[in-house]
Symmetry: C2
Subunit: 282 residues, 2 copies
């Protein structure tokens, strides 16, 4: 099947690699409004060719829209305007409510499947695309009752070809869940990086002792604002709620340190250790 | 050279592995007041034998004290009481000021070298010991003017055998720096884990979408209270200062979200991206 990837960057480019390697797609067309990115996607072999949006859509059975989430709300209605009933359109955005709202009453709504493959790195652009990014990870389909069964079936096959397991959620639940397990991690990481970078102004050797633990907590602070500002903008209300809870929890540790209540501090650590059940299930 | 490791867990056990593999030490003796840990250290081949403290010290040229930092302040003066002028004692603790104070006026102070190999994982105990833990990482020697040159030379050789580069700092500077690049990361990680675990009570599927980004930021939340409570107790004042700065920084993100000031939010992210210079220097 011919697939168009709009935005062959970290996510879109890694999907292109996976669809070609698995044999799911013999031909992948790229669309990118950044000419340097478009040229790089061809050079790197992520896509076979780059074409203007309308031509690419017309030639393809499947259109994967992998742009930042703010442009999704504009692009998706336009793409649904120009497709026929055989084609399937899917997005891969990290927020869902505004995207689902943007296409809610579109006559071709059933040809669209709202998906979120939960995988990524702190890098972006075509150079960031890598093989195997999605293997064993979870992909969320949201509000599936609005999509046609054949469109869902094709998306299912596509993500299975990438090695993903698929789950379903309502769009609102999705946005709340990702605020907890993804968006807040990024803010914590940005804040940690800024705290130490600020100290570097007085203590220029401060990073000399940084080891693996520091690196893993600030890794996400390398993430690009081009990707993340639109996400925080669209998921602002959920992120604010989680941020309040996070600040309260950090403040509890602070209060216990002030009071030297290390008994209660230890209880909190033991409770936090329960995260092993989630990320270390063996 | 015969080396005694007091506390052959994550750090002590990994040192034992490295000293044997590099040929630095033909014989490593373990000391552990937990009989199960002692037996496991022998079974795993971390140490050749386990002996009572006094006997092990008497048989060894080098004594590495790798216990939690609260017991270091009691153990170190005792060990310095029973050594002769040929032996070298070193600790590997994550805090330095209280440890340096505990031996400050000891007649054998010059035989002691205060070191902190900056490496580790979120695991603990003999099972956590791994080869190559220290390779390419940084080891800090603190207050070296209080140690005899020959003792410093031996410690230098020991850490070189583990593949570490060595730097020096005053004890107070060390404790401030590790508050920034290690201790605060742990609190952020514990708080993040607790925030999501709390939400799990209402939303039992909350972790279903957790991916690599979440895992890397909460990895440290698996760290044991046995190691970390004594560290937070000893470095409380520095950790409190850094915690205040971290809370202020997270709160800035919160205020910008409330005000929908995404221009300023983007500036903060771009500034945080400067962390690439530190952890991604290519």
């Amino acid at each position: 099947m011919i697939v168009t990837i709009i935005g062959p960057g970290l996510i879109g480019g890694s999907i292109a690699i996976g669809l070609r390697e698995s044999g799911f797609s013999a031909r992948v067309i790229g669309v990118d409004n950044n000419p340097a990115h478009a040229a790089r996607a061809v050079e790197l072999g992520l896509v076979d060719e780059v074409r203007p949006l309308e031509e690419a859509v017309q030639k393809s059975r499947i259109i994967v829209v992998a742009t930042p989430v703010d442009s999704l709300t504009k692009l998706l209605p336009h793409i649904l305007n120009i497709i026929d009933n055989e084609k399937v359109v899917l997005d891969v955005g990290s927020t869902k409510t505004p995207i689902l709202a943007a296409v809610e009453n579109h006559p071709n709504r059933a040809r669209f499947v709202a998906t979120h493959p939960m995988a990524g790195t702190e890098y972006s652009g075509p150079e960031a695309a890598i093989p195997g990014l999605f293997a064993g990870k979870c992909c969320v389909f949201t509000d599936i009752e609005k999509s046609a069964p054949d469109a869902l079936g094709i998306c299912h096959q596509l993500y299975a070809a990438l090695g993903m397991r698929i789950t379903t959620l309502g769009g609102n639940d999705h946005d709340l869940h990702v605020a907890y397990v993804s968006h807040i991690s990024h803010i914590a990481s940005f804040a940690l990086a800024l705290t130490v970078l600020e100290k570097e102004k007085d203590e220029d050797r401060i990073f000399e002792l940084a080891s693996g633990g520091f690196q893993s907590t600030v890794r996400l602070a390398k993430s690009s604002p081009e990707t993340w500002i639109p996400i925080f903008r669209q998921n602002r209300d959920n992120v604010l709620d989680v941020l309040d809870e996070f600040i309260n929890t950090v403040s509890r540790f602070r209060t216990l340190l002030i009071k030297k209540d290390f008994g209660k501090f230890e209880e909190l650590i033991r409770h936090a250790n329960d995260i092993r059940r989630i990320i270390d299930p063996k």
